[in-house]
Amino acid sequence: MPLDTSTYSLALLRVDGRRWNELRRLHAQIRTQAAADGSSYLEMGHTKVMCVLTGPAEQNQSQRRGQTSGGGGSARDTASINVNVMIAGFSSVDRKKRGRNDKRTQELEITIAKTFSSIVHTHLFPHSSISISLHVLSSDGSLLAALLNAATLALIDAGIPMSDYIAACTAGSTSSHSASDDSADPLLDLNTQEEQELPYLTVATLGSSDRIAVLNCESRLQVSRLEGMLVVGVDGCKQVKQILDRVIREKGVQMIREGAVDRSDTMVMDLDE
């Protein structure tokens, strides 16, 4: 269903009532699944994903043979990261069954696996594999960003060392490629309706730094707008990182209070704040 973007210029409000630089509600939980080594649940607006992580564990036969998504050539010395994205048939408005060999899904998997292979200290776990299963329960835009954020949380929950958070979000522009108006505003965190209509990119940064880990753009856009979109996107990633960090800290405090983890002498975190 095409979106009528002409109303944006009237009140500077988007279809869901947000301003150009506002994120949707981001809600996350970690340690949602008792049987897994690491798990998380993340909502970005109506996009809902679940991540279940197993590993680092010994590689099984099939993974040893098909080292495709690991991203690293010298797979014996480092842990390989296998990503499985399962998009549930009920996730979109109309039910659509996507097979395992769906090209879009495979591209998502490879992007996520490559990103985390460069961030996770895989050299600490030779001959092993980390498998990340991502279940998409409901998709409403910014899917890759939500998957990256959920995978970050699950990796942290599993206690796998990595250099920093991967925080991701999308950024778009209020007018399409053909309409060449110069007053186009950049937009933050697009939903499905906006994604279908407007040019957008997904950007992920390393923590709250300006270092970009993922930049993915599949739509045509004028190169003069790229910089503005990128700035807004990176700024959004910093906000996302804050939220993810808060989720982790709250869970950590809760676990220490409940006595699940011993309080360490080197802890800098103040529990009473």
């Binding site: 699944q33 049987a35 897994a36 109506h46 549930a88 408005v93 039910r95 097979g99």
Partner: protein, 338 residues
């Protein structure tokens, strides 16, 4: 089979097996033979579906089921004479429901995944009542998509978990209220508050549940854990549905109907046998005794089928008033439908 292989030595298998063959059996988690593991369940977790449910077993396995409905035109060859109406419905009922099972780490066309899906489908369609609920008029019907997702890694055989989650999702499934009449193009009330449950609260019909039962010695054990499944002599999937009855009185209870019974290949058949001391070269004894003879306390993978008396006992225990199926259905009735 969709379980990770249990790493137990033949001696451990023999120990578990002998304690489970006692009368009454002693289970490693202290349950009685008909007791289920505790579970947490919720419905209405996915607002974008017609019905959804999420169930977590205490061993950490978790499943989510979402039901989506679509309107579909009934194929023209179905429009026959009036008296054939019932028979014609039955002809197409199979493909009105589509079940897809997703198990992480397994391909969706993997034999065990397809087998799981078919077992659930067979139980659902085994009683002819379900297809009748999807019938709108002679030209249109509902098409139901059941997407069954196992979220956690498959620790134990996921059939009971998936079946209970599907049961709850179907109970929570609501379809818009039909406004049009007769055979005209269907028109629906767009008020979701006015939508109707697929399984009405007032009637006694309930979607089927599939229970996993194992037989060890002469004992029948319900809801086996993975260690118990690893020593099972035979494993059965028993599907039970509560039938619709016209007059429901409190003392009469629900009318249970056995929908299907299927043998599941237990993983115990793949386990290596133990070597008795008498024949072991390690103890210095001369290899005596015949090969394949069972020795007390030495593990030997079970062979052969299930005794008829055990099969009968299982069905008795499931179907009797106040039996296992009654207990499970009562427990699931407590789950609030969102």
């Amino acid at each position: 089979m969709a379980t990770s292989q249990v790493l137990l030595s033949p001696a451990e298998l023999a120990y578990i097996h002998s304690s489970l063959s006692l009368r009454p059996p002693i289970r490693s988690d202290g349950r009685t033979s008909t007791q289920f593991r505790p579970l947490t369940a919720e419905t209405g977790v996915l607002p974008g579906t017609n019905g959804s449910a999420r169930v977590c077993f205490s061993d950490g396995t978790e499943a989510i089921v979402g039901v989506k409905a679509e309107i579909e035109r009934t194929r023209a060859d179905n429009e026959q004479e009036d008296q054939d109406d019932g028979a014609a419905q039955r002809q197409v009922r199979g493909d009105w429901v589509e079940i897809a099972v997703e198990i992480p780490g397994l391909r969706d066309d993997d034999a065990s995944t397809v087998f799981l899906g078919e077992m659930l489908r067979e139980a659902l369609l085994g009683d002819g009542d379900f297809a009748r609920k999807l019938w709108i008029n002679r030209r249109f019907h509902w098409r139901l998509y059941l997407d069954i997702l196992l979220i956690s890694p498959p620790l134990s055989y996921p059939l009971p978990l998936l079946s209970l989650t599907t049961h709850l999702a179907l109970l929570a499934t609501r379809l818009p209220r039909l406004k049009s009449e007769g055979d005209e193009d269907p028109m629906f009330d767009d008020d979701w508050q006015a939508s109707q449950f697929l399984y009405s609260q007032n009637e006694s019909a309930r979607p089927p549940i599939t229970l996993l039962v194992v037989a060890i010695g002469d004992n029948v054990i319900f809801d086996p854990s993975k260690e118990e499944l690893a020593v099972a002599e035979s494993a059965l999937a028993v599907s039970v549905a509560a039938a619709a009855s016209e007059k429901v009185s409190q003392d009469q209870g629900r009318k249970l109907k056995l929908v299907s019974v299927r043998m599941v290949d237990p993983p115990s058949r793949l386990t290596p046998p133990g070597v008795p001391n008498g024949t072991s070269s390690g103890t210095g004894a001369a290899p005596a005794g015949k090969e394949g003879e069972s020795v007390e306390g030495v593990w030997k993978a079970p062979v052969g089928g299930t005794k008829f008396a055990i099969l009968d006992g299982i069905i008795q225990a499931v179907l009797e008033k106040g039996g296992v199926a009654d207990e499970v259905l009562d427990g699931l009735k407590g789950v609030e439908l969102a």
